[in-house]
């Protein structure tokens, strides 16, 4: 990477004030976009674990895309070009995050407001899988098992078809991308509402205007990642401890909460760790939390392969440790660090995995701010679990597959959780 660009990036990312006070001419937006392109291209060249990223001739890629960036007239156009270039690699964890997303998420104290609904795509329908108790959606009467048909006056079904026809999105991520986008459509600024139409349990159409509220959890900021809400919850089902958290972030709070859950579970009959919907976070947290479940030293969850080095995810046994049965629940939105955690414990024979296959998006990545202010996510390594699984593109295959069914949701049944509880009872 050449020096002026590095300095520019450093100024934008680490010292905005210093940047504003610089005596050198202020770069134009177009110059910042061009610098961003170079930064992205060089970062992939220098940090991708393959010398030919995705099997591509990376120099040829520059020759193809740089002229397009040089004549691009808008930032959106540049984002599209950069995204197209990154999609050529054919791997997840490469993308451009519009600067506006950072702004939107952090405005007014952080966190965009939401309805309290979680969604999954099932048979090309948008299924409500959870309604947070007390949330605006709950108050409005939305229930798990309902089907979302319209968001903000837009029909859902054509949007699903449009995304399916976009070959830039890897197949294993389609469901995740779709559901995430619909959830984004249901979010908005504070004190706003969103109009949405659902099919209820009787397949009757229900149109609602739902107020938006702050998401559950606490807003966590880690490095260059956009601020995000992180929640951690613990329940007891008889003599079984159940924990759930939506991200491997907010390191101190989540690890200390997990430690407290383990302490409360010594002794107990079993432990259930629900990673459904957990999109990952800090990779090292998988090791740190696994340490409470593994008593033998020198066990590994897997190995991260970078261009010049291999990093072993060695688990350090911790006290208090839990030695009883552990069930981990996963679904198509369990990604990245969740897959490292679940796949590693599965390979070590330390946990039984329930649910459906995970997102298959496990590449370790960094998120940096580009000279033009956008975020840039790029993977720097590939990851192979201790049992030899390449998680990227394959995901974690549950030991016990429990498919998502609308009927279960309508009846208030969590079939995955019940399967895990039944297994623990038999241990």
């Amino acid at each position: 990477m050449n020096r002026p660009i590095r300095i520019l990036v450093a100024a934008v990312t680490a010292a905005g004030i210093a940047y504003a006070q610089a005596t050198t001419p202020v770069p134009t937006p177009h110059e910042l976009d061009v610098a961003s392109f170079v930064y992205v291209w060089e970062s992939i060249r220098d940090t991708h674990w393959q010398e030919a990223p995705g099997g591509l001739d990376w120099q040829e890629i520059r020759e193809e895309f740089e002229p397009r960036v040089n004549v691009a007239e808008t930032r959106d156009e540049v984002r599209t070009i950069l995204s197209e270039m990154l999609n050529r690699i054919g791997q997840t964890h490469f993308g451009i995050i519009p600067a506006g997303l950072y702004t939107a998420l952090s405005a007014g104290g952080g966190g965009s407001n939401v309805t309290g609904i979680d969604l999954r795509i099932l048979d090309d329908q948008v299924l409500v899988t959870e309604v947070v108790g007390g949330s605006p959606a709950d108050v409005a009467g939305v229930r798990p098992g309902w089907i979302l048909t319209r968001v903000r006056e837009r029909e859902v079904e054509p949007l699903i078809q449009a995304v399916r026809s976009n070959r830039a999105i890897p197949g294993n991520l389609l469901e995740l991308v779709l559901a995430s986008n619909f959830k984004r459509g249901l979010s908005g600024p504070p004190e706003s509402t969103v109009k949405a139409t659902f099919l209820n349990a009787e397949d009757g159409s229900v149109e609602l205007e739902i107020p938006l509220a702050a998401p559950r959890g606490e807003i966590s900021q880690f490095g260059n990642l956009p601020p995000q809400p992180v929640y951690y919850e613990e329940k007891r089902f008889g003599d079984v401890t159940y924990v759930r958290f939506n991200a491997f972030l907010d390191l101190e709070r989540v690890i200390l909460s997990f430690q407290a859950s383990v302490e409360g579970c010594v002794p107990c009959k079993g432990m259930i760790i629900d990673l459904r919907g957990n999109g990952g976070g800090i990779g090292g947290m998988a090791m740190g939390m696994a340490g409470f479940l593994i008593s033998e030293p020198n066990q590994r969850l897997g190995t991260m392969h970078m261009r010049e080095t291999d990093l072993n995810f060695v688990v350090n046994p911790r006290l208090p440790g839990f030695g009883g049965p552990v069930a981990v629940l996963i679904d198509s939105h369990s990604a990245s660090t969740s897959e490292i955690f679940a796949g590693g414990l599965q390979d070590l024979g330390r946990a039984r995995i329930f649910g459906i296959r995970s997102a298959a998006a496990a590449l370790p990545s960094m998120i940096e701010r580009l000279p033009n202010g956008d975020g840039f996510q790029h993977a720097i390594a590939t990851y192979i679990s201790e049992g030899g699984q390449v998680l990227e593109g394959n995901g974690v295959i549950p030991d016990v597959v429990v498919e998502l069914k609308r009927e279960d949701l309508l009846q208030g049944v969590d079939a995955v959780l019940e399967a895990a509880l039944t297994w623990i009872e038999t241990q």
């Binding site: 990477m1 020096r3 590095r6 990036v9 450093a10 990312t13 680490a14 966590s220 900021q221 880690f222 490095g223 260059n224 990642l225 390191l251 101190e252 690890i255 200390l256 800090i282 990779g283 090292g284 947290m285 090791m287 740190g288 340490g291 991260m304 970078m306 010049e308 080095t309 291999d310 990093l311 072993n312 995810f313 060695v314 350090n316 911790r318 006290l319 370790p364 960094m366 998120i367 940096e368 701010r369």
Partner: protein
């Protein structure tokens, strides 16, 4: 080369904090041909001289350091405090988003304690590297620490020419350090 993740990514910069915090985050480019290079021995001895000389090092019996740690690419920053005397070292890093990380050495034991990983005794190459980095007044003991040293070339580190010196311990992985051609100080 194999490293434990703790060394490599999340808290990997702790390897670097054995060096001056001021030289963290530097980058290098453009290797020059390795012709007419000074010997690594002379570069390392010069470093001792330009940082005060052997006598000054030998007069030191303990050390307290304060600094800032920044991983600009990841947007992480924090504070560092270190305490050291012969056979004893403790480094404390408070990093936003990760919390407190403590690592230390007592005689031949290397340890670490963090919220991320808990308390642990280091083993293998990681232990050896930590013990080497904790040697008090290490610059004047480089001959014992690194039996083999070599000047590999000249590279530009943030625009400043620097000798790239490869130092190989009796056990464990080699270490690369960059010494300014002009000042003789370690700059990466």
């Amino acid at each position: 080369m194999n490293k434990q993740l703790g060394r490599g990514i999340i808290i990997g910069f702790m390897l670097l904090v054995g060096l001056s915090p001021a030289i963290l985050g530097q980058e290098s480019s453009a290797t020059a041909p390795a012709t007419d290079l000074p010997s690594a021995e002379s570069i390392l001895d010069r470093y001792v001289e330009v940082t005060g000389g052997r006598q000054a090092y030998e007069s030191r019996t303990s050390e307290v350091g304060h600094g800032k740690v920044e991983i600009a690419a990841a947007g992480l920053s924090g504070e560092l405090t270190s305490y050291a005397k012969p056979g004893l070292q403790c480094i404390i890093i408070e990093l936003a988003g990760i919390g407190k990380i403590e690592q230390g050495v007592k005689d031949d034991i290397a340890w670490e304690n963090s919220i991320l990983q808990g308390a642990r005794i280091k083993t293998g190459d990681e232990r050896l590297a930590t013990l080497r980095e904790a040697i008090f007044n290490a610059p004047i003991h480089w001959r014992e620490i690194y039996p083999t040293v070599e000047t590999v070339g000249i590279e530009s580190v943030n625009g400043e020419d620097a000798y790239r010196v490869l130092q190989t311990p009796a056990e464990g992985n080699a270490v690369t350090t960059y010494y300014s051609v002009e000042t003789g100080l370690a700059i990466k």
